[in-house]
Amino acid sequence: MKRLIKTTINGKAFELAVSPNQTLADLLRYELGLTGTKKGCEIGECGSCTVILDGRPVNSCLVLAVRADGSSITTIEGIETDSGMHPIQKAFVEKGAIQCGFCSPGMILSAKALLDKIPSPDEEQIRTAISGNLCRCTGYQKIVEAIASAAHTGVKNE
């Protein structure tokens, strides 16, 4: 039996009929076409499917879609502003933080959740915040640099 849920995704209200065993990741990807959320392991170990659920970064493969009832979700498709890419996205592009790009959406959302709470994190805080997001390509250095640079830019803008 499907269940009706009400949820806000990227600022837009949805009423959706979801199966009890459907994950949030699958709902986003296969029902709503939000394929920026990636699936790398489906058991909550790689962080590729990270989305922001009520302000917290979560592995959307571990969250049942029914659990999203009444919540607000931000995916990678939802963080661009009217003036284009989010400063974190821009920093990832400029700093060379993206290689294969499969971890990038999750990584960027973990970074966003961090900077929303701590606008000027130190390197240890950045590394801890993304420690649940695996990257096999970059060795993380340029990712950390990008997040630090976005934090710096954000501070300047305020």
Partner: protein
């Protein structure tokens, strides 16, 4: 300093905005009308005879559109190397490892396909299995592949110079045995594909692959269709590192399922299936005997290596050759003997992974040499500088190094890391270590024997002349080759990077052998440069005719046609261009130099589509002995690293504090991407050194097919890397460029091992350096001292 306008600088990746915004389409992000979902039935037993396969219940399940076994798809043998085509799409007489594929299903949705797979009944008769090299090599051991007695997939016996004489002249001779563990590629995107066999008999396979060209050949061969009817398209790929450089079972199964159903069929590996398919780094056991003179001169090396290969050959023949040939450099060495054995076992097949075949060998030898340097009382840096090859040196197995900044790399890391002030001067539990390595810049020969160009590139100008569209079959799997090719094309054409559009990874665009052996910058780069030169020549020829100026007096720089002498009057040409583009907002003004796009438009009007082509094939390289091709390359990229560690003397826990890496990439096309390859290589090496090991139970089942128990470095494990790019200007490379993707991983493990020694006094000969292993070694050393 050079006067390049585009290359040798930092450029944001062309694909980065799409990847940052979630727009980039990877295979599982794609869907097609009427698409079916496929699933594989894989063996739960490591070695068993197949007595019967009953698919009736599966076929009858509503929603199932096709069920295929070996009886349906035939037994065409395929693999990576034609000399060892030892795989069929599905097993028919027996299964050889837990995960071996027996059948496939296509259904209207994935759940139904998986349910149908569970309904297929296979009667197995379990056979005795061999899981380790010792078991497989034992007298009378059961055979994994009947065609290969003694479970020997391949063996290599080579001797260069005279090792006996070399050892006789040595003052110090030492033998050590080193063993690493099976690795997993651990790319973030699991393999997946969509096959679309259309009603006109043309097959398109979209696949997460490193090698569209080789996959195209395999699917054409196994399905029995002409190559011209098979096309492989690579969407964005989430990393590969080697395991995606061969054809996988899903790629073939989905093609057959699509052929059978007339509908597109999508298949994906789960993370567990990625581990089961494997094709990643082998386990190597190296027994090395090295002879050195008192002054530090390396005189001889005897290398005996056994590789645990799993149930199929995959890349293994190349791997077993590489495990020998890659020790012939970067040190001057006249006498080298190698005996290599790749052993079949009832485990998933191993294949190629970053630093193919050479990583364990490098770790073993660099640690052994470090010991010998210490025994002679020589500083490890001095020892390495003394023995380093330089450009022009031809190794005993006939690798010709046309550029080789090994000494520069060693000096750079020693200097930047502060080696002199730290080595031997750090407190107990803290240490510093150095190691070196190198890798090929593209395999000198294709995997199948052929005179094919290794790369062909097409560059087509848009009708208005404003955009150059670069078409290549090469595979950007995350390393940034598309951007590098765009930069080479822009530099050569003399236009801006924003005027280049790249389409890649499609066999329709030409031949390119793909992303393996660190080949694309050099090889696809050459073809790209040649295609761009061809385009420029054609455009300038037409301008020469129209303006009555010799083409040799013209060039293109920064998007503008330049003239050697007096600038001719081109106002008529400009007038017609502007007239043609009435209403366009980007017309050139009446003043100002002749723009390339105006010239290109004139060329289009005169000749139609302006299409330039380029191709590249290395010349005849290397020796003529058996196996001489493996390791032969137009260029070699040397690398040196210094690593600093902290070892907890009570727990054996290692923390890598700092890494300094210097790599000679000839010339950095995109500086940011070169650093990215260096940092990524070191991260993978750190993982293999400290954590990574695929573990099995007594039945041959993988115990840790997931990222919780198979640990790769996280952001908290990987320190910052001080990257030093050495540029030696490779004569055989486009603009002097050569590899960076794999050479940089070579020194990582031994630099860590040597740093751990400096911190603790222990030498560890088995990877990974788990706390237990390190703790035990520390305790053993303490006992010995008492």
């Amino acid at each position: 300093m050079n006067d390049y306008n585009v290359i040798n600088k930092r450029a944001p990746r062309l694909d980065a905005p799409d990847k940052a915004s979630g727009r980039a389409k990877y295979i599982d992000d794609m869907t097609m009308p009427g698409m079916l979902y496929g699933a594989l039935l894989q063996s739960p037993i490591a070695h068993a005879a197949i007595k019967n396969i009953d698919t009736e219940k599966a076929r009858k399940l509503p929603g199932v559109k096709a069920v295929l076994t070996a009886a349906d798809v035939g037994l065409v043998h395929y693999g990576v190397s034609p000399a060892r085509y030892d795989e069929t799409v599905f097993c028919h007489d027996k299964v050889r490892y837990v995960g071996d594929e027996v059948a496939a299903v296509a259904a209207t949705d994935l759940e139904t396909a998986m349910e149908a797979v569970a309904l297929i009944k296979v009667d197995y008769e379990e056979l005795p299995a061999v899981f380790t090299m010792e078991e497989a090599l034992a007298e009378g051991a059961p055979l994994v592949q009947e065609r290969y007695p003694g479970n020997l997939c391949a063996e290599v016996h080579q001797e260069f110079g005279n090792v006996e004489e070399g050892l006789r002249q040595s003052d110090l001779v030492r033998t050590d045995v080193f063993v690493n563990k099976r690795q997993d590629g651990a790319f973030l995107e699991p393999q997946g594909c969509i096959a679309d066999f259309n009603r006109n008999g043309f097959l398109t396979l979209y696949s997460s692959t490193q090698v569209p060209h080789y996959v195209m050949r395999n699917i054409a061969m196994v399905l029995g269709i002409p190559i011209g009817k098979a096309r492989v398209v690579k969407p964005y790929v989430g990393g590969g590192f080697g395991p995606k450089a061969g054809t996988n079972t899903m790629e073939l199964a989905s093609c057959f399922l699509s052929k059978k159903t007339g509908r597109p069929v999508k298949m994906n590996y789960s993370r567990e299936q990625v581990f089961l398919f494997s094709r990643a780094r082998h386990q190597f056991r190296h027994k090395l005997t090295t002879g050195i003179k008192k002054d530090g001169t390396i005189m001889a090396l005897i290398n005996e290596c056994h590789l645990e290969g799993g149930a199929y050959a995959s890349f293994g023949i190349a791997t077993v050759y590489y495990a020998g040939s890659l020790l012939a450099a970067p040190y001057k060495l006249s006498n080298m003997k190698y005996d290599g054995y790749r052993v079949y076992t009832n485990r998933p097949a191993c294949g190629a992974q970053r630093g193919h075949g050479g990583v364990a060998a490098r770790a073993a030898w660099e640690q052994q040499l470090d010991i010998m340097a210490h025994e002679l009382g020589m500083d490890p840096v001095e020892f390495r500088l003394k023995n380093s090859m330089q450009a022009g040196y031809i190794t005993c197995n006939e690798f010709n190094t046309s550029s080789f900044g090994m000494r520069e790399c060693i000096e750079a890391v020693a200097g930047v890391s502060g080696w002199k002030d730290k080595k031997g001067k750090m407190p107990r539990g803290k240490g510093i270590g150095i190691a070196t390595g190198f890798f090929v810049s593209g395999a000198g020969y294709p995997i199948y024997r052929s005179d094919t160009p290794h790369s062909t590139v097409i560059i087509k100008l848009s009708e208005d002349g404003g955009t150059a569209h670069l078409l290549t079959g090469s595979a950007d799997i995350g390393q940034g080759s598309d951007t590098a090719m765009a930069m080479i094309a822009a530099e050569t054409l003399g236009i801006g990077l924003d005027s280049i559009r790249v389409s890649s990874g499609d066999t329709e665009f030409g031949v390119d052998l793909g992303a393996y052996s660190s080949r694309q910058t050099l090889m696809t780069g050459h073809a790209t440069k040649q295609a761009a030169e061809d385009v420029k020549r054609q455009v300038l020829e037409v301008v020469a005719e129209k303006l009555k100026v010799p083409a040799s007096d013209m060039d293109v720089k920064s998007g503008v046609v330049t003239f050697k002498g007096k600038e001719p009057d081109f106002s008529l040409l400009r007038g017609s261009y502007i007239k043609e583009h009435r209403g366009f907002t980007d017309n050139p003004g009446e003043q100002g130099p002749l723009q390339f796009r105006e010239a290109a438009r004139i060329a289009f009007l005169a000749r139609g589509s302006i299409v330039g082509t380029g191709k590249y094939k290395p010349g005849d390289l290397g020796g003529s002995f058996k196996g001489a091709t493996v390791g032969t390359s137009p260029a070699y990229g040397p690398s040196a690293q210094v690593v600093e560690v902290t070892v907890d003397m009570e727990t054996g826990q290692i923390k890598v504090d700092k890494m300094t890496d210097a790599h000679d990439c000839g010339l950095a096309i995109n500086v940011t991407s070169v650093e990215g390859q260096m940092q990524g290589s070191l991260s993978m090496g750190l993982g293999e050194a400290l954590f990574e090991e695929v573990k099995f139970d007594a039945k041959g089942r993988i115990l840790n097919p997931n990222f919780a128990e198979y640990k790769i470095p996280t952001a908290l494990d990987m320190p910052n890397v001080e990257c030093i790019i050495v540029e030696s200007n490779e004569p055989n490379g486009p603009y002097g460029a050569k590899e960076v993707g794999e050479g940089a991983i070579m020194p990582t493990i031994p630099a860590i091992l040597n740093a751990v020694y400096d911190a603790t006094g222990i030498r560890v000969w088995e990877l990974p350096l788990t706390p237990e292993r390190v703790h035990k070694a520390i305790k053993d050393l303490e006992k010995k001292k008492e």
